[in-house]
């Protein structure tokens, strides 16, 4: 039987389990969109291709499946670029399918022609240009396979219009994929596991550094068991949040630039770091020369190019984290609990936990949550109230900036895949579209998008997408009238010279209403929870404009390139009240 290239694409997508795509039609993918009408696949039309890319990304993060995003050639493809780079930096499996001009015009600067495979070469895990319908079947299968295996990532398939139009005899080919140079995972040699155990037994002050890889390999249960059996505290990267329960006694919280002081101190004082599915990003390590100077380091990592990249490690356990943890656990089975394992020296471990707790006590007096209510609305308070009002059960998607860090600090996640954020690329404008994608992936979940007034304005046109698709997400805008994080750096490092950071916003309530949605405004702490309740009870997407303290800063802060233990701390309350009065 004959199929057009466009039909083959949809047939292959169906067989990959795709039930929703986020895309934008145009000249070079018209055949694909024409064929779409005959297939049982939901199509979501964003208002900008970047929005579609983030939706597919949010969908992939929330569902654990491969997201699919589409665009036409030229501007359609270039508009995807920020979304592709976002997925690349955070290792998110998304397949991007772009239309390309008719193959005989490629290279002739045809209307809406761009070299999208060239443009996306460094920001995709792999990409393809297809000009022959016969290649579509195996290319699409390879694209999904590469996107989801090993260290996941985005794959782009650029398909010329004539390849979509061509009609060829076809039946689905599911013969084994042949990729001789692709090695998605390496198995750990047994002796490395034993060496890891020896290092663990020798350690007095171990810390687990848990990253995004824990969730991506589905190793949450194994991590929990491992931490409990070995009584090792767990510090989390920004994307690792949720992979270990926030309420657990061994949870330290987020590390790095805006990590809590006790977490960074624990890392600096540790004698063993067990880095699991994390890549020692500069936001996590601070100054590499002084990073964890006394610690031996074991790196559990599936991507060998990450090993010894930033931090030289003493031992690498390559391959899938969950398999490695299972091997470690099976070796520990003879000593199922610390008290039964004298070689783990329980008293030393208890001393270590107590030492970390000392630092916690020191932090409590500076915590913004413990500040008296001075009539100002603090974003951190809003986030914490939101956490209480949702009982910590919301799927939270953030944008990028101060509100993102406050959410990381004050919304406490006990389960994985409830916290979606753009970490590596730090893409402003990610929040709303990713939230829409996440809600489509998990309609049963209550979804909250937390954004700043700056980032929200970058992609707020997607409110109309939410309205058209009848997707209910609740949006909390932490509106401080500034590009807050940049303003904070200007405050700390540029003598408060606020260059291009004060920002006028439209009336977000009216914007929501103009889209046929609901808008609310909150200016006082007492109104936070009632507004959250109202949003929960309202049908359709609700936007809440929280008018928060304008010049608040995220603390603690490790200045870029500084030593991890050199943190700028929130002034203790007495000092804070004084400055607050001085400035306002």
């Amino acid at each position: 039987m004959n199929y057009t290239g466009a039909q083959i694409i949809w047939e292959c997508l169906l067989r990959e389990g795709v039930d929703v795509v986020f895309g934008y039609p145009g000249g070079a993918n018209l055949p694909l969109y024409d064929a779409l009408l005959d297939y049982p696949i939901r199509h979501v039309l964003p208002r900008h291709e970047q929005g579609g890319a983030h939706m597919a990304d949010g969908y992939a993060r929330a569902s654990g499946k491969v997201g699919v995003s589409m665009g036409t050639s030229g501007p359609g493809a270039t508009n995807l670029v920020t979304g592709i780079a976002t997925a690349m930096m955070d290792s998110i499996p998304v397949v991007f399918i772009t239309g390309q001009v008719v193959s005989k015009f490629i290279g002739y600067d045809a209307f809406q022609e761009t070299d999208v495979t060239g443009i996306t070469l460094p920001i995709t895990k792999h990409n393809y240009l297809v000009t022959d319908a016969h290649e579509l079947n195996h290319v699409i299968r390879e694209a999904f396979y590469i996107a989801r295996t090993g260290r996941p990532g985005p794959v782009l398939v650029d398909i010329s219009k004539d390849a979509q139009q061509a009609s060829i005899p076809w039946q689905y080919d599911d013969s084994p994929i042949r990729l001789p140079g692709y090695r998605p995972g390496q198995k750990p040699p047994g002796e490395d596991i034993e060496r890891a155990l020896e290092m663990l037994h020798a350690a007095k002050r171990p810390v687990i550094l848990a990253g995004h890889g824990v969730q991506q390999s589905g190793a949450m249960k194994e991590l929990l068991q491992f931490a409990e059996i070995t009584q090792t505290p767990v510090a989390l990267t920004l994307l690792g949040i949720g992979c270990f329960p926030a309420s657990h006694r061994l949870n330290l919280g987020m590390m790095g630039m805006h990590g809590e002081a006790w977490v960074n101190h624990a890392i600096q004082e540790a004698d063993l770091l067990l880095a699991m599915g994390m890549r020692f990003d500069d936001r996590v390590t601070g100054n590499l020369k002084t990073y964890a100077p006394n610690a031996k380091k074991i790196h559990f990592e599936i991507d060998l190019s990450e090993v010894n990249k930033n931090v030289k490690v003493d031992l690498t356990l390559t391959g899938d984290l969950r398999l490695n943890l299972r091997q470690l656990l099976s070796h520990l089975q003879n000593a199922p609990h610390l008290v039964d394992a004298p070689h783990l020296e329980p008293q030393e471990r208890l001393d270590w936990l107590a030492r970390i707790d000392e630092h916690r006590g020191d932090s409590a007096v500076r915590d913004i949550l413990n500040l008296p209510d001075s009539g100002h609305l603090y974003a951190a308070h809003v986030v914490n109230d939101l956490w209480r009002a949702t009982q910590g059960n919301a799927l939270v998607v953030t944008d990028v900036g101060q509100h993102q860090m406050w959410t990381a600090q004050y919304y406490h996640f006990n389960s994985p895949n409830m916290w979606l954020t753009s970490g590596g690329l730090g893409t402003m404008g990610f929040g709303l579209p990713a939230g829409i994608g996440a809600k489509i992936a998990r309609p049963e979940n209550e979804v909250w998008v937390i954004a700043g007034d700056g980032g929200f304005q970058m992609t707020m046109s997607e409110l109309t997408t939410a309205a058209q698709e009848k997707v209910k997400v609740n949006v909390a805008i932490m509106n401080n009238g500034y590009l807050g994080m940049v303003r904070q750096w200007q405050e700390f490092f540029y003598q408060k010279r606020y260059s291009a950071t004060p920002m006028l916003s439209p009336d977000f309530v009216k914007i929501a209403e103009a889209c046929g949605l609901t808008g609310l405004r909150v200016t006082r702490r007492a109104d936070v929870i009632p507004a959250v309740r109202q949003a929960q009870e309202t049908e359709g997407t609700v936007v809440i404009d929280f008018r928060v303290e304008q010049e608040d800063a995220v603390y603690p802060m490790v200045p870029a390139g500084a030593d991890l233990h050199e943190m700028i701390r929130r002034p203790k309350p007495s000092v804070l009240v004084e400055t607050a009065e001085d400035e306002f």
């Binding site: 060239g118 460094p122 042949r178 990729l179 060998l304 010894n308």
Partner: protein, 176 residues
Amino acid sequence: MQHTLVALVEDKPGVLNRVASLFRRRAYNIDSLTVGHTHQPGVSRMTIGVTGDDFQIERLTAYLYKLVNVIQVEDLSKVPSVNRDLAMVKVKANAENRTHIMQTVDVFRARIVDVTNDSFIVEVTGDEEKIEGLLDVLKPFGIIEMVRTGMVSMARGVNANPAFSSNGHHAQEIIN
């Protein structure tokens, strides 16, 4: 230190671009790069001359492996190997120095592959040092034009790395 990396890659459009782009975006400088077919269908071989310390080359190797089309990478500066570059040098010649040039070329075991009344093309094969040596002695005669292929390298004996092995079955097995 100068390293010679040999990479077996899938013979597909765009692979050279992927490799070259990798060097650019990870901030490495390519000293020389040659690409050609191997005896195995579907497999090309790249010889890449690159300067860096052991750590940088280790990183580079890991990044190369991350490319889906790269099958095998080996650093030949770590093992005994044969390195060859080919140069063609068009040099000015006249009735007086003609014999002198021919004798010089002979000493270097190079060959004259084109003769006109006022020029020779000299073809020379060898390692970097030998070619530089010949160029030095030809320079005074007046070099009109010069081209070099860039270095190609091969490990001596039966390569310990099975993909490169002389009987050639292994890479083919990986491909199939």
